[in-house]
């Protein structure tokens, strides 16, 4: 589903990624690790089509609406409630039976009670759970997760373990994390960035 050959990306004179090769088949799970500044987030942005490679080739067999992208920021409007944010994304991402799907995700991630609270008033962990709901809302075929466990408490992290476990194999994953032990058992390939 994703093929990268000699992939590189520069920002001005700074080279962030150089000569990266990897392949993720449909249903595969690529675990990306590396220290801060090694280019993990840049790699995910490239896979999402938000950035263009400076060198090499990158082929991603997924359309825009088929990608679930979880970034460092939750990509949510702080002045809108949890429900309003998901409804906005649900409409723009053409989610069938939108309300039912939103309700189901909010329940699953323990956010039903917080659904009418503005995102700006949510804790980091709660906002991260909501960001996960947003990324999963449209049932994407390709999931690009950047530090998905960031800010989650143990219960929420276990919930995410279960979610990833249930989707692994069915969906294609690229997960960048500083906590590889949580998803090592699901990974079909690993990429370590220096």
């Amino acid at each position: 589903m994703i093929t990268a050959r000699g992939l590189g990306r520069d920002f001005g004179t700074k080279r962030v990624l150089r000569d990266i090769d990897f392949e993720v088949p449909r249903g595969g799970f690529l675990l990306v690790t590396g220290p801060n500044g090694s280019g993990k987030s840049t790699l995910l942005s490239l896979c999402a089509g938000l950035l263009v490679p400076t060198s090499g080739e990158l082929a991603v067999e997924a359309e825009r609406g088929e990608i679930g992208y979880l970034a460092h920021e939750p990509l949510l409007y702080r002045e809108l409630t949890a429900l309003e944010n998901l409804d906005l994304y649900g409409r723009l991402y053409r989610v069938p039976e939108r309300r039912e799907r939103i309700g189901m995700l909010l329940e699953r991630f323990g956010l039903w009670e917080a659904r009418r609270e503005r995102v700006g008033s949510l804790s980091r962990g709660t906002a991260q759970r909501l960001a996960l709901c947003r990324a999963l809302l449209h049932g994407p075929r390709l999931l690009l997760f950047d530090e998905p466990y960031s800010g989650l408490d143990d219960a929420a992290a276990r919930l995410l373990d279960d979610e990833l476990g249930s989707l692994a194999g069915e969906r294609t994953f690229v997960v960048a994390t500083h906590a590889p032990q949580r998803v090592e058992s699901l990974a079909t390939a690993a990429l370590s960035l220096a």
């Binding site: 942005s45 999402a48 089509g49 938000l50 950035l51 263009v52 359309e63 825009r64 609406g65 990608i67 992208y69 970034a71 460092h72 920021e73 939750p74 990509l75 949510l76 409007y77 702080r78 002045e79 809108l80 309003e84 906005l88 994304y89 409409r91 723009l92 991402y93 053409r94 503005r118 947003r134």
Partner: protein, 212 residues
């Protein structure tokens, strides 16, 4: 959902954000009224109609700029534009939704600015109202595109005025001409033509502005 549906959803979101945060419109209102008061005292009492109208247009232009500087603040600070551009909808819907929001803010400012202008300077005729309405379309269309462009850059507060002001000079020419000459029709047609040309250009180029 249709293109129009996407546009309405996005425009509604911008209006809701402003209703809750009240970050932009109050600042625009305060700015435009303050500017008109300053001009009222700065301009000699025997100043020509053209000079008075010209200052109104300067005030409106900078008020629009104030609104445009904040147009993509939420999308930039929270990187929400990434989430929006990955949606399967037409990316120009993001532009048009934002244009509608910016126009609504401009109209809100002008609802106060035009009576204030009438109070401090001279009566407001239908030509001026028509010119302002047409100018709003052009200001919002071009300004939204440039605001999106500037939002991606580092020196965005500098970049937006530098890009915006030269491109909207024709709006000032058309606006002043429509409201201070004997032949407003010609200038209103000019403003309409500007709107059509720049709206199409902005619509078509927005996708390339929000993607690499």
């Amino acid at each position: 959902m249709t293109f129009l549906g996407d546009v309405l959803v996005l425009a509604r979101k911008d209006l809701l954000l402003e209703l809750r945060s009240r970050d932009t419109v109050p600042a625009m209102l305060l700015f435009v009224v303050s500017t008109l008061v300053v001009f009222h005292f700065a301009l000699p009492s025997d100043a020509s109609a053209t000079a008075q109208t010209g200052l109104l247009w300067v005030a409106l232009l900078f008020t629009a700029l104030l609104g445009l500087v904040r147009a993509f603040v939420a999308e930039r600070e929270e990187r929400i534009l990434d989430g929006l551009v990955l949606a399967p909808c037409d990316r120009s819907a993001i532009w048009l939704g934002k244009v509608i929001g910016v126009m609504a803010f401009l109209v809100a400012a002008e609802v106060v600015a035009l009576p204030a202008y009438a109070l401090f300077f001279r009566p407001v005729g239908w030509e001026l109202v028509a010119a302002v309405a047409l100018a709003d379309v052009g200001l919002a269309a071009v300004g939204t595109l440039l605001a999106a462009m500037a939002a991606a850059g580092r020196a965005r507060e500098l970049l937006l005025p530098l890009l915006f002001l030269p491109l909207v000079i024709p709006i000032v020419v058309g606006g002043v001409g429509a409201s201070a000459t004997d032949d407003p029709g010609r200038y209103l047609a000019f403003l309409g033509l500007y709107d059509a040309v720049f709206a199409i250009l902005s619509w078509a180029s927005f996708e390339y502005v929000v993607t690499e």
